[in-house]
Amino acid sequence: MRDAMPKWADLVLIPLVSLVLAFALSALVILAIGEDPVAAVRMMVSGALGSTYAWGYTLYYATNFIFTGLAVAVAFQARLFNIGGEGQAMLGGLGVALICLSLPWPHWALALPAAALGAALFGAAWAAIPAWLQATRGSHVVITTIMFNFIAAAVLNYLLVNVMRPIGAMDPATAKFPPGTHLPSLHDLLAPFGIAFSRAAPANITFLIAIAACVLVWLVLWRTRLGYEIRAYGHSEPAAIYAGIRPVRIVMAAMLISGALAGLMAVNNVMGEAERLVLNAVEGAGFIGIAVALMGRSHPFGVFLAALLFGFLYQGGAELALWTDIPREMIVVIQALVILFTGALDNMVRMPLERLFLALRRGRA
């Protein structure tokens, strides 16, 4: 039996059509609240791509979404739906903060690997219990990771209010990290090459780490035995068991990698931008990872592109909120529509396209 559609249609056309539908509906919402969608898009483009300052923010957000998107994607490959990226990224922030505040770091090149390790370990640890319960008790990881998001919020709240807040400070946040942990921004990195980049924008070296993470995840999934086993398990559990692949090991591995990736996001937002840990540092990036992974078809390259897109939307949306009456939550609506169309309503787009391709092929034959 031949597939109804060529591969490129499956990989490119369907996500594209879904995206267009999501954007069209978003435009309708903007129209409905009395704003001009065309002007809105123009403002988003100039606000997110119009200057190196704008790019600096877009890439900063994209970096967050690459990590959370990869996190969801890796779990998806094992057919696990990790909704806990939000909580895992929160804990990653705690890991970064503990490491940055523990030593008077002399140079960022030393602080960065240590902080990244802390972020990954804390993120993975927060995914470990849901993973273990799924693997050994069959507790649905979707529900447990949701619960762990709430629990993470309570833990962070407690630590920031009662434990890590410097004496005398009012807001629930840690002290500022020592100067030796300051990460080079894109401005610092591009200056030696004579490329001028905004000094004020938060995009930093973590963006390069995110790209490296994409490559690494691709290598692990498609070039290593572990990745082979994760994908096999994701497609068919009975087949995996037949082949001697241990489900407990795969569920744990996939979820721990997923949690570590989500945790790594904290290097960007906590260490690279805020330089201290504040309440709600993640700002929903963990959830945007779901949309990014769906949009990117759970492939690292797709995740990279989708993260750029959402970085653009996020920065553009912030500009909109600043200059128009369109609230920032509009981005949540767009995100919901992208998840809806690329994730849940996939068949709505796929079925007519399949019929179209079938008709085309018959016409040619």
Partner: protein, 321 residues
């Protein structure tokens, strides 16, 4: 703890359990029909906003309730279309619904009321008023039972009584009617229903619609009875606690009431005691916040008896080839 305090906590338990119970029964109808629903939260939130908005504008809580149910039904229709007609992933659809509600309610609230994503506060007929049951005042002086009747049983708003009346009604519908038989059948083995000549899609849509109505009532209760107006994200995870209660109750109505009362009780305790002193060890308020979720995870871990979901749950129905 004295008797009066205990009564107050229990009274608060009933009020806080009500939205959980309504959402839990909503989820029960949906999931017994084989449609998983993690979008209870979003449906409640949509209803909370639209009920508060319409009640604020018209001054009528009834119109508000209608609007809330309608909004929840729209969300349910999206979930139904994705899960039933387009055979999509029910979990992903639920996630999308939650975000859609979280985003749209604030966007529209801001556009309509310009109060930072809130609705104006509701007063008078725009809210559900407490109902004093007959003889509540007369019987008040009777020791023990009098105060229990007066404080605990009497004096709630209409949705509270409705929610608890729905428990036996749901049981009866599921177990004693043709609709209930078909609904349970479609959740266990949709092919059996299909080959028996009954539409799988229609039965599932009906279940999803019931879920929408009940979530609508739950959301309206939050905004027009428990509180006086809509604020951003006011459901605050109740949809997920209801989901956990549903699992705890093993998808059965009476047990659902027990589970939601337990979680309502936890919330009532957290609300009343910011920090609990347990003989020297002080539990901070955050522990109270996290406790329902921690308990849920413990329940999900299956250490308190195994919960077996409906067999066809979560899977879109496709005729075999």
């Amino acid at each position: 703890m004295d008797f009066a305090t205990a009564l107050q906590i229990l009274d608060s338990t009933v009020r806080l359990a009500t939205p959980l119970l309504l959402a839990c029964l909503a989820g029960l109808f949906s999931e017994r029909a084989g449609i998983f629903d993690i979008g209870l939260e979003g449906k409640m939130l949509a209803s909370a906003f639209f009920s508060a908005a319409v009640a604020a504008v018209t001054g009528s809580v009834w119109l508000g309730l209608g609007a809330g149910i309608a909004a929840s039904l729209v969300m349910a229709a999206i979930h139904g279309a994705a899960s039933i007609s387009f055979r999509g992933n029910q979990l992903i659809s639920g996630v999308a619904i939650n975000f859609l509600a979280a985003g749209l309610t604030v966007v529209i609230a801001q556009t309509w009321f310009s109060q930072g994503g809130r609705t104006p506060s509701l007063i008078g007929a725009a809210r559900f008023e407490p109902i004093t049951l007959p003889l509540a005042e007369t019987l008040h002086p009777v020791p023990i039972l009098g105060p229990i009747y007066h404080e605990l049983i009497s004096g709630h708003t209409l949705p509270v009584y409705l929610a608890f009346a729905l428990v036996p009604l749901s049981w009866w519908v599921l177990n004693r009617t043709r609709f209930g038989l078909r609904l349970r059948a479609v959740g266990e083995n949709p092919e059996a229903l299909d080959t028996a000549g009954v539409s799988v899609a229609a039965t599932r849509y009906a279940a999803v619609a019931i879920c929408g109505v009940l979530c609508g009532i739950a959301g309206a209760y939050l905004a027009t009875a428990l509180q006086a107006g809509f604020v951003k994200d006011m459901t605050a995870g109740r949809g997920f606690i209801a989901l956990a209660a549903l699992i705890f109750a093993k998808w059965r109505p009476w047990q659902a009431m027990g589970a939601t009362l337990l979680f309502g009780f936890l919330q009532a305790i957290a609300l009343r005691y910011q920090n609990i002193d347990l003989g020297g060890v002080v539990l901070p308020v955050q522990v109270m916040d996290a406790l329902p979720y921690v308990l849920t995870v413990v329940i999900l871990a299956g250490f308190v008896g195994r919960a077996i979901p409906p067999r066809a749950g979560g899977a879109p129905y496709m005729k075999e080839r």
